[in-house]
Amino acid sequence: MSILLNTQTKLLVQGITGAEGSNHAKLCKAFGTNVVAGVTPGRAGQEVDGIPVFNYVADAVAKTGANASIIFVPAAFATDAIYEAVDAGLDLVVCITDGLPTIDMVSVRRYMRGSKTVLIGPNCPGVIAPPEKAKAGIMPSSSFTPGRVGLVSRSGTLLYEAGAQLSAQGLGQSTAVGIGGDPVPGTSFIDILRRFNADPDTDSIVIIGEIGGTGEQEGAEYLKAECKKPFFAFIAGASAPPGRRMGHAGAIISGADVTADAKLKAVERAGGTAIRNPAEIGKVVAAALKT
């Protein structure tokens, strides 16, 4: 069973009538996900690719049994969409939207303490579980194949890059998760690593991190203490200039211990393998796992 998505997932799409919402609702459905509903206030009764649209999340849940949501709502309204989904009692909420104010996520995180809902994102590509034929995300499905590698990344396109390289080596994925590029994500590396560690269908773990913050170090410490599975990490931004926000709000170097090198060293101290060339992620993992 995948760590977040499985064949029992019933996905609803918040913002389904927008361009990206409708496009990706169709793509998730085409991949095999059970997409049961969409939500856009004011558009109840409409349909997107045969998927019924509702005015609000609780209604969609009551009428379709949806247990997960993917959010394509614009940034100015996305925090509200997250609260609505959490309050409707969903198991999983994936917020694709980029641009949520950081302080909003501080409040969301605090509000969700103790909640059964798992929030992935915001500013993320979502989740894909190839063995379950389930996707709540925007990743190109062709880059991912069924397998037993647990893949987790802050970056979207680097997640695809890693997935494609691993798949090319015959190393498919149990679940690939993009936790997003924001400084306060809904779910951090350590939470995903705990799940991979406990997942009987995941044999090894690949982490794609980047400069800024301490999520990778926190994750590495956890793995050192608790994980017997082999793990690998690539950290983007080794060549980034200090003090600049490299696209992601969370990717700022503001002290010695948040550089790519510092994080890679933390991974090595924890017993993992550091990958220093992003073009060799697949090769390095394959070589290590085959010995």
Partner: protein
């Protein structure tokens, strides 16, 4: 988004945080009249976004309004080079004329978001007026921290305890707590990512004042901070970066190499720079074209690269997810034609929309070097740039 010291202090004042008396002067004449109204003995401070002004001659104590005029004349319109700017420095659009203060003690206080704690944190220290990262490294026990739970909010005891922790006299404890309350209110109301007072001074007449203020607004809060974003001073930013953002290319950072990069996704963009570096080349820029499917944005991205004289080769590394390869290809073809770009193009394209995108490129007749993966692309880009 950074704001100037005088703007930050105006914000602080509106939240009841005491700041030195002062007024901004946009010309040397204004500086003279403001200084005259303040009795002539003032401090003239260059208003630039970069730190390190003092050592660069950007902060001067003067005794008369005429001296204020002379200093302002020298500073306004000049370029100030500090250890935080490049050698080209930054322009000085204005100066802040402030009362002189008799400082007894310098403290430090700031508020920012602590990613590890997932909460706002108020940091304070008796070691004010110095590099706080050095204090954190060498004397961490001198750095006090209070994390503010968003549900609980700021409580007065938090400021009181910081005052006690910094050894402040009893009669200053309540004013300090009020000051911290005002700082936190400002931090939340203005969607700050950083609010730093260094130094926070105690004067000889027992006032606490925010002698300097650095305030950065969360770039993601633009949709609800119209007033704050109206304070943006583009003269303080790299001109190419400003040009880029004015054409919708918001994640462009000028670097100093020769390979112009266009990548979708910040992580992949950083990794592209890393890979180029591993192959012995250097990137001319970081550019995350983002996940919006917009032909114009692609055209603008190529345009900004043509404005950079250092660019000898352009490397498109696109992994289509939300951003589709065919949209990218359309923009690429349009841009190369429109700007008659001479720099060779290396294209590594894959993911959503690849088949249609590749067809568009092939049918356009645009010469390009095709790359099979990121390493291949980086290697070819390094070679192409070196050949020119």
């Amino acid at each position: 988004m950074k704001v100037h010291e005088y703007q930050a202090k105006a914000i602080l004042a509106s939240f009841g945080v005491p700041v030195p008396k002062g007024q901004v002067a946009n010309t040397a004449d204004e500086a003279r009249s403001i200084a005259a109204a303040m009795g002539g003995k003032v401090v003239v401070k260059a208003q630039v976004h970069a730190g390190g002004r003092g050592k660069a001659g950007g902060v001067k104590l003067v005794n008369t309004a005429d001296e204020a005029y002379e200093v302002a004349k020298r500073l306004i319109g000049s370029r100030l080079v500090t250890h935080q700017t490049g050698p080209e420095g930054v322009p000085v659009p204005a100066v802040l004329i402030e009362e002189t203060i008799s400082v007894v003690k310098e403290l430090y206080i700031s508020i920012l978001i602590d990613g590890a704690a997932k909460s706002a944190v108020i940091m304070a220290s008796e070691a004010g007026g110095m590099d706080i990262e050095e204090v954190a490294a060498n004397t961490p026990e001198k750095l006090l921290k209070v994390w503010v739970d968003p549900i609980e909010g700021y409580q007065p005891y938090m400021g009181r305890n910081l005052a006690y922790g910094m050894g402040m006299a009893q009669e200053l404890v309540r004013p300090m707590a009020d000051l911290v309350a005002g700082l936190y209110k400002a931090f939340i109301a203005k969607d700050c990512s950083l609010l730093e007072i260094n130094p926070l001074v105690i004067t000889s007449d027992n006032r606490i004042l925010a002698a300097d203020c650095k305030l950065t607004i969360d770039d993601n809060s633009g949709f609800r901070q119209k007033e704050g974003f109206g304070l943006r001073d583009k003269s303080q930013e790299d001109p190419l970066e400003v040009e880029a953002s004015e054409t919708g290319v918001n994640n462009y950072i000028k670097l100093s190499g020769t390979i112009g990069c266009v990548v979708n996704g910040a992580g992949l963009a950083m990794a592209t720079l890393d890979t180029i570096s591993l192959f012995g080349g250097s990137a001319a820029n970081f550019l995350d074209i983002g996940t919006v499917n917009n032909v114009e944005r692609v055209v603008s991205s190529v345009r900004i690269l043509t404005r950079d004289p250092d660019v000898k080769c352009i490397f498109f590394n696109i992994f289509g997810g939300m951003a589709r390869v065919d949209i990218i290809a359309q923009g690429l073809v349009q841009a190369y034609r429109e700007f008659n770009v001479q720099a060779p193009l290396v294209a590594r394209l894959t993911g959503n929309g690849y088949d249609e995108g590749r067809k568009i490129l092939m049918e356009s007749g645009l010469p390009f070097i095709e790359a099979s993966d990121m390493a291949d692309g980086a290697q070819k880009a390094v070679a192409a740039a070196a050949a020119r």
